[in-house]
Symmetry: D2
Subunit: 391 residues, 4 copies
């Protein structure tokens, strides 16, 4: 279908002196003429300001460590290097309305407790002493573990290890909360919670497709299971690889789930772990919704909106809404794993989910020769890079 | 609150010759006077015809084995000794509208495939060669494994072991289906299905609180996970016991769940596994809904409607609707486990769920001296045995 | 598909002296051999004990009036002539697990208040003074109005008119409640409720596809709207007839709905009003679930399981589960209306809904010459009358 | 609870030369230090950029009429004067992420058909000839009627009246769709739809709390009822006023509802009509979520974030998220009605709904003497105007 702003059905009014004067009259009344902005605010397809970006862990890590010495945890609130999309500096987003950052905590450190409307999730990069207390439940998390801090829960973190700092990645929906004018923040009246005695209590309670006594009374909109350790997750993916072909676009992929509902872990953000078989190259697709990926294991390449991004363990990269993307495990003998989180629950709740497969070249975008670190503007939408998409 | 059929608000019309004649006139028109039956059909509290029964595995087992030689599998359809409540012979129910039986399959035997409106579940008692194919998925199940054959799925079973027969317990909602005039039955047009290559495919796909790609398209009203092996189930209960006090009435109890919804495995029957700590004696409660229990591990005593039932591994017993019941693990050093299935999903869907705690003696029914094998009539309701309940 | 009990896949074990002895051994243990009952309890298709019946209002009315003089309201509880299916006398059902009856209240009479697990609905046949108080809300209902008394609500009724008795039809799920051993009954501690001042409060609050303030907090499993007056119902059907072809099986049909959920009025029973255009003859279909119809307007004929039932205003008839049925408005100039209630919500909740169109003769069953008043046995299933259905 | 950015638990790092250099290093890697923005992006309570604004219909109307002569409908796409919040010019929003505008169509005009990801709604201000065709259904709408054009439906509009132009108000979620990078737009391949023969088909089909045959198959996330005429809406409010006290904050208020689900008309926007009794002054509350109000009948005053806005029929005003607001019908003998639409469905889906009552002065904000036309900055949040709210 033709998509041309000069066609009947689009706004195509040219400026005249009379119209310019008229626009001034409107502006004086806090009004305007729709046709002056219609084509911009009703685009043919999504026009994200976010661009594909890859952040290299080996570049970020020294700067994250540097923060440890430069600011006190108590002064920073949280000592976090946030990753900022060049197109979204105004809202501190890594992509779309999603925020991410790398938080460091030194041995023995503990943050104060707070809660906020924004939901948070964690993915541990390194270090063994990390703990978090969420609504009174103490959780210990290690490398590649995934944990959540749902909307409105009291939380505080720390590192009780002795073998060095912990670095974990935070993911939050702060830009979404702010876009909807819904942000609240509270410092815990006693600055710290009193945790229950059993560590990882919810991990012990939710397992093996069984729901414990009392689950039928759980009525909050998020998962009562607050942490998802790496080992059983990886084992589950290996089992899934035996039993299933997986997704043509993502390989062996599974969503971390709220065991009480089978839904996403939180109402605003979902998270997945995926496994690419040795040498596997998935097909490209695109969808509404933004995704932040973290290479959890192995090394490979992802092609996003026609740009090539090589990643290895620890690297973080983003796929803006409606950008074509595909993944390639470059190792011929080892599998590779990608952790990711997204705003798909929002897309689905609001009826905004849309997806399509890349139609040409057996599902693969033309592979460019060079590696892009970040691109801006129209290229990111995939439209320019993949002209067939809108023809 | 007083419950007396002579009080205002209850039917209390005495027969007279005129009324008797009138009732005859009504009957001739396929009609009747409500007040002649009102107090019976609107009882103060449930009046199940089912009575508490315990079936001893050591008594049943020889007769189940005997069936192996007496009838051919092909002639029997399925070679099953069903357990029949003395009060429900008319509908072949073990309790309420639930059917159960012990099915035996000799080494090398295979049944033909069929499907029906009734839903089925299996709990394996003994033997290692049991398999079932459900809608094309081959499952291997061993002792204490739980598996389902939902409403409308093609299924066939067999035993490919070499070390003797398999005995598993079937649980079905046949009496419910018939009470609602909703039964259908079909023999598979080719008598056998062609199973997929991967054995236990759904067990591999649903694990660790992750949902695989494609789960969002599952729209059937039952669990896509068709088998729940014993080992992870038991481990989950041990973990739960570390993290939780459990239920005062059931100890450490968890429901086998549909991972896609967090609901019961099927819309008409739910199933639980529970663990009683060494020496644990739970408090009594009663609820609407019927339950069939199987002792999966250990030995103990359950008091049901004031009667004492001693059980050991393999024994099966039932708790009729609204009967008081409590469980006691008699072993002071080992835990005991009870598998059970029920019609609670029906109670909840229809708004019939009701539950109450036994109010006296710290929650324990007066313990009678003798062991009852089966009781009939009013005693089963708990009303006679526990007069305070209705006073 | 062949349906023959001698085929492989069905039970076909002949009695032998050894088996007879074996069955005796089983019975002594409260057990039995499944294959002796399997074909009966797992039929090829539903085998309801209910038969199609039509109850003529002109025959029942004099007997209903007679009750007014013969028993006091206070002694009867409720003065009701119940309609009893010849195949379901054991459970006082009119069809399936549904109860219905005609209740009469003389001028100035008032019943005492009670509540029960069973849900009730009312359809007014005649008289203008009927009132009911449901959980404190006073409702006035007139001819052809539909009202509900959901599961667990306190209720009491009366007639404050001066122009004679009121006769309304009760519909309840008493047999269902009893089949599930879930019945409870309570007399109001003060025998009467204190109603709020506004009559028909919920009728005033739920109208025009608007939900009033507070509706978002309604969490009960039934409609907060308790009465559905005839006039707007009939107008809605006339509007629907302008805009829609309606159902091929039911003409212009609409379900009374819970405005807060769009679902059925109660979790165990639904109700419809349908309009047949002048001369309209619908096609036949059959479905699981039982239906009780009341001719609300006009006259016609329904063919049920091959039997012809002529009805006029006030008559009541039933369609058992899985019986073929079709309706014919015999008036060439006036529309006809049928009120009906059913157990479809149960069928849907439990996954038992199944439906099929009559495949032959343009969708019409062979029309027999004579009118049946009641039929028994196999004929009612439609199988014998319509042999093509099961071939 | 104290809310002070210098307290422990907030970011309070002062700039130093070392830190400034560090921030530069971070920026070079598309990164930043969270503590430099944390207090801004995690505010104590919502900080909308939107301010309360009232747009006077008598001021806008001449300019809307002027557009009729200045631009051709075919060139404008739609001839709309949009209302732009001074704080949201960047996204063309009237408040929050909601867009609104006044559209004019001359006699005989018809627009071309298109569809988009954004959802739309209409509220008619004046003129009798307005029609719209939504997914093939032709609707005629008159003054004060409410209609919807859900997400993804083909639609086109026109005016077939002879008595002058039509002016209606559009409400869309365009800014929300863009914030989530989810916008799509298509021109109808034939420029016009072929409407069905029955006008207002869905209005005829959904009435009187009845659901027509086929409704059970409706699976789209929006209402099948596409127009809500004024007369039955007003009558419903009058009935509601008889039966209910209504809301302390909104008087007699009801939500236009999807009859199939009882939910909001669309997944991203809800709409209400409310009636203020003669002289009624409601109490103040505040909530997350933005609201656009249109005075549908009568005249009054609303106090929003401490500013007084006087309105009369046709005027439009907005309440930003978390701003205190209350309404006052200034007429002592006539009721007043406010139409409004909002993003509450988004707030609820995402778990962002929060509400609180104004705690002081019997629920009334201090009434300022002067009328504000528009205010900017902190005043709009209500925090400055109502210091007790955050103390």
């Amino acid at each position: 279908m033709e998509q041309d702003d000069t066609m009947l059905g689009r706004a195509r009014v040219s400026d005249t002196p009379e119209l310019t004067a008229y626009y001034g009259e409107l502006e004086a009344l806090d009004a305007g003429a729709l046709w002056t902005v219609a084509n911009d605010i009703e685009p043919w397809y999504p026009q994200p300001k976010s661009v594909p970006v890859l952040w290299r862990y080996e570049e970020l890590r020294p700067l994250v460590h540097k923060a440890l010495g430069m600011v006190k945890a108590d002064d920073a609130g949280r000592r976090v290097v946030m990753l900022v999309n060049p197109g979204r500096k105004d809202v501190s987003a890594a992509a779309g309305l999603l925020y991410t950052g790398l938080q460091i905590m030194g041995p023995g450190e503990a943050m104060t407790a707070h809660r906020h409307q924004a939901a948070a999730l964690r993915f541990v990069h390194e270090g063994t002493g990390a703990w978090t207390v969420v609504d009174g439940q103490k959780l210990k998390v290690g490398p590649r573990d995934f944990a959540i801090t749902p909307n409105g829960t009291w939380h505080e973190h720390g590192n009780d290890g002795e073998d060095g700092p912990v670095i974990w990645q935070d993911g939050l929906d702060i830009p979404l909360v702010n876009a909807l004018d819904a942000g609240f923040y509270e410092v815990h009246p006693e600055l710290h919670q009193t945790p229950g005695k059993v560590v990882n209590s919810s991990v012990l309670q939710y397992a093996a497709n069984l729901l414990p006594y009392g689950s039928e009374r759980w009525s909050r909109p998020y998962s009562p299971l607050l942490a998802y350790p790496w080992e059983p997750t990886y084992e589950a993916l290996l089992g899934l690889a035996e039993a299933s072909e997986g997704s043509p676009y993502d390989g062996i992929i599974a969503e971390y789930t709220n065991p009480v509902t089978g839904g996403s872990v939180m109402p605003t953000m979902g998270a997945h772990m995926q496994l690419l078989r040795p040498g596997q190259a998935t097909r490209a697709h695109r969808h509404t919704g933004s995704v932040i990926y973290t290479a959890a294991k192995g090394h490979g390449v992802s092609v996003i909106a026609g740009q090539r991004f090589a990643w290895r363990q620890g690297d973080i990269f983003c796929v803006p809404s409606w950008a074509w993307h595909e993944h390639h495990n470059l190792d011929q003998s080892e599998d590779a794993c990608l952790f990711s989180f997204n705003d798909f629950p929002v897309m689905r709740s609001l009826g905004f989910h849309r997806e399509e497969a890349y139609p040409d070249h057996d599902g693969h975008q033309p592979m460019p020769a060079a590696t892009g670190a970040a691109a801006t503007g129209a290229a990111a939408t995939g439209a320019a890079a993949v002209p067939t998409a809108t023809a």
